[in-house]
Amino acid sequence: MNSFNIIRFGNVLRRLCIVRRKKIISLTLGLTIFFALTGIMSIDPFHIGPIDKTEITIRFLGVLGMIVIVFSTFLTIGGYLIISDLNNKNSLIDELTLPASALEKFVARLLFVTIGVMLSLAVSFLVADVIQQLLCMLLHAGTRVSMLGFILDSYPGIRNGFGSLSIYFIAYLFQNSIFVLGGVFFKKVPWLCTIIVLFLLFTIISLAIIGLVSYIYGYTNYHLSLPDIQVCTPLKFLIGAVFTGLNYFLAYRLFCRLQVINNRWFNI
């Protein structure tokens, strides 16, 4: 039995992109409008005439936080969209009877919610940037400041090249894997359920650590010390990579167990 055929996978991915293009287009359009409006409101649109670049830069500083929050929120939780279109019996029948292996279907959907969402965010931001620059040049006699350039200057780590980008990408994959798992596990409002579970897990783990440290310091003569930072960072990456892989694997196993009728609030 051929569990991964590249040609068949290509057909699955093509079909998925066509069937879900409305979703990605509406996401891209919505984000473009948001970024464009944010950028336009920062360039003093009600004042027509020359304006100093520094003034625009200072205004961008005011909205930078919001842009980064929205950008990173969608980037983080976008994974929950993995099977958001399979919310009724009819779409499940279409998907589950499609003559392709579960692995091909899952990988296609995973690529859609990782690369697809990233591309959507990137395209929407770039288009919004172009729109605000054009409007700025029209209103302020040729003066323009690029939002993208401003963000790259504000976060020098991004400009440092492949090494920094790969760190961001690995961190993105880890967060994405959590929401992919949540998106496959929960049937209703998966993004919210995943956030609630993460919050509860974080609270429990934090309380456990605090309790342990309190016990050690309160009732023993031991002291806690963290290992050398040189050893710590590769170890963090290893643990992150293991958990990322585990999350994607569990999400795949859950995807394989999808059934056309399920009365529970989770997909098991």
């Binding site: 066509i18 409305k22 009819n90 029948i93 009877t97 499609l98 059934q259 056309v260 009728i261």
Partner: protein
């Protein structure tokens, strides 16, 4: 083709067993009518055969492969037309292009012929067409897929009266050679002339699992006046033409056309020997 052994199934959270040890085999190259009252598990059985549901215990093998594993090799020889479905809001040509490559025996010629026979050949976009038109397009695609196993759940629901007659003609004329078609329906009059084999389910039991030849060889169907009723009659119901009856066929009696609705009512009431 389809082998079901000791099948047990109930929906999560429900104590009611839809199937409780069902065993049945379906052969190649036949048209099966799957009948039963509401809630007896007709659609559930189709979903189990297609691997869309997983049995609690027992096995369902489709084309020699375990259905619940949903192997691509099994799925490319299986096409399901559910009772309700959605078509994506794209052009018909796009829909064909994104799906035809998954079915190695897909035939554009058959598709064009079915669309023409269903009188929907002019449809270009799936966006703003009626439910009946969507059903015709979907069924045309199912027949054109060339799959060895076609599963149809209430295929004539939503079709206008002329289209129900067309449905029989189009299915009979375009079903792939050697294929098996399983039709689950309440609208027995729409499909009874197509059927080679009848399966009747009721309360987890298989009441009838016989070919139409066996049924007409064993039973006769007709109308009798009150003074013509005799001991061979197993079941009768009043009608405008007298009593519609199911009786044991006598050796020398000619075969009578099967009345599936009458057979169904008799079977449900336990009147058949």
């Amino acid at each position: 083709m389809i082998e079901i052994k000791d099948l047990h199934y109930n929906y999560a959270g429900s104590k009611y067993n839809v199937f409780d040890g069902l065993s049945v085999g379906l052969d190649n190259n036949s048209i099966y009518g799957l009948l039963g009252r509401n809630g007896t598990g007709k659609s559930t059985l189709l979903y189990l055969i297609a691997g869309l549901l997983k049995p609690k215990s027992g096995s369902v093998f489709t084309n020699g492969m375990e259905a619940r594993k949903r192997h691509p090799e099994m799925l490319r020889e299986l096409y399901m037309v559910p009772e309700e479905f959605e078509l994506p809001a794209i052009s018909l040509e796009s829909f064909i292009k994104i799906h035809e490559d998954f079915y190695p025996h897909f035939s554009r010629e058959t598709l064009e012929r079915c669309l023409s026979d269903f009188q929907v050949q002019g449809i270009r976009s799936l966006r703003n067409i009626s439910m009946g038109q969507k059903k015709k397009v979907f069924m045309s695609f199912a027949l054109a897929s060339g799959c060895e196993l076609l599963l149809m759940d209430e295929p004539t629901n939503g079709l206008d009266i002329p289209s129900k007659a067309l449905f029989r003609k189009i299915v009979a004329g375009n079903i792939p050679e050697g294929s098996t078609l399983v039709i689950s329906t309440h609208q027995v009059h729409d499909v009874e002339q197509l059927l080679d084999h009848i399966i009747i389910l009721d309360n987890c039991n298989l009441l009838i699992n016989a070919s139409t030849d066996e049924i007409v060889g064993r039973y006769e169907f007709g109308y009798r006046m009150p003074d013509q009723m005799d001991n061979n009659i197993l079941y009768a119901e009043p009608s405008l033409q007298g009593n519609a009856v199911v009786a044991l066929r006598q050796k020398d009696s000619p075969e009578t056309p099967i009345n599936v609705e009458l057979l169904f009512n008799a079977a449900i009431l336990g009147k058949l020997k």
